[in-house]
């Protein structure tokens, strides 16, 4: 997890486009300036970043389904639950599955587990658009390679 680059996923460990599911691993760094402010003496992974990690994991699933033809932009967060404190250094397993594929939008359900226990979950809506800039698409492919995104699964 590279918080300074907003890269909240370390590795895609499973991508099943037929089942429309994805699983990712992410390790929260032990130190970050974020934890100096959130909170002094009681460092916690901010809930918004946990939601973002679910969004990024969902986004990779959507990008896989659209074979890098569409970018997924987070549009709505529904019923987000932050069930327990998540601390620096902890290892996250983030999963997502498609709930609905509409015309120009997709809805996922995502969850984060630590040590086999769900610590956060949410339903997320994404707008899907063609990549607005070729550099974004190229950049996403670079990130995909860095996180072991299985390009072969996209055909």
């Amino acid at each position: 997890m590279r918080l300074e680059y907003f890269q909240l996923i370390d590795r895609i460990v499973a991508l099943d486009l037929d089942a429309r599911t994805v699983k990712a691993h992410a390790k929260i760094p032990p130190t970050s300036t974020i934890f100096e402010g959130h909170f002094p003496g009681h460092p916690l992974m901010p809930g918004v970043l946990l939601i973002e990690s679910m969004a990024q994991t969902s986004g990779w699933l959507i990008i896989g389904l659209t074979k890098f033809e569409r970018m997924a932009f987070l549009a709505s967060v529904r019923a987000a639950k932050l069930r327990t404190f998540v601390s620096p250094g902890q290892a996250l397993t983030v999963t997502a599955r498609i709930v609905h594929e509409g015309s120009g939008f997709t809805i996922t359900k995502a969850a984060i587990e630590v040590g086999g226990k769900v610590v956060a979950d949410s339903e997320l809506t994404f707008r899907l658009t063609p990549f607005p800039d070729p550099n974004l698409r190229a950049g996403m492919k670079l990130v995909a390679a860095a996180i072991d995104f299985p390009m072969t699964a996209c055909g």
Binding site: G102, S103, G104, F105, T125
Partner: protein, 93 residues
Amino acid sequence: MSSTFDTVANIIAETCDIPRDTIKPESHAINDLGIDSLDFLDIAFAIDKAFGIKLPLEQWTQEVNDGKATTEQYFVLDNLCARIDGLVAAKGA
């Protein structure tokens, strides 16, 4: 069995917190009811689920943007319901 309009109006009322009795067949979802594009995604999700269809929102938006159609053709509820009925019929054909 409720009509397509009743189902759609109930979805809009619940999704957007709009009083049900203000939603009429002649209402324009955007201009009269003030529904924005994000709320319309939630409505489309609920309509897709309720009728087992996929509203072609991208195609409609493209046609409006290209000047080939007006928003009234898709977003006045009477017209929207007619298109839903058409999609349901096509699915069953």
